[in-house]
Amino acid sequence: MFVKQVSVFLENKLGRLATVTKILGDNGIDISAMALADTTNFGILRMIVNDPDKAVSVLKEAGFTVSTTDVLAVEVDDRPGGLAAILEVLQGNGISIEYAYSFIKRAGDKAFILFRVENPERAVELLKNTGVRVLDEKEVYAL
């Protein structure tokens, strides 16, 4: 039920993000979601791609520090209050969110949001019980 996110350590230097995206592009890897967390000295690039294992190996080969993390991909109604309804379920059950970001693509009246939560198994169970659709790996990589 989890999706593999690729995380890359980036120094705060001109052109680092461009280099990563170029490498992925040259290897035919498609990015479907990304978020960049930045501090004064460094940044962490988080991405969902169609082939995480390949992304990790080509980036490592290029000398980057890369890791994968399990995140949740959740379907959200694309209307005011759609995201709030989901967050209410998590909050109501005491599940903290480390970070969240959204997919670039959407389908119909649905948007997709990625969550990194402290207790992913429990979060999936709670969301499913409330009728929220959690996407599986195959669906996400095909987005």
């Binding site: 120094e11 000295n41 962490i44 520090t65």
Partner: protein, 114 residues
Amino acid sequence: MSKVLGRTDDMLIIRGVNVFPSQIEHVLMDIGGTQPQYQLVVDRVNNLDELEVWVEIDDKLFSDEVRRLEDLENRITREIQNTLGINVTVKLVEPKTIARGDGKAKRVIDKRNI
């Protein structure tokens, strides 16, 4: 005997304090388990010596959470300061940032003109 080229122990004198790179190595070893690649950059800013410690982030040290990396940066800073007794700035850098020479690693870049 050939001309003296440098100290074998790379000792630095920063603000009057003797600093051995091996002291910093020990701190990094304790924190990281294995010893990460590092480099010391010394400069003189407003007539005062400044020491920067660059540490390469390898797979073992990396986390996708900003908080954890910041904690790591702070912990390295604190422990080096406690060991050396002087202020340092720690910078986390990407792998392969630090030049690897043949034989003796170039651990110290001294930009002071003394």
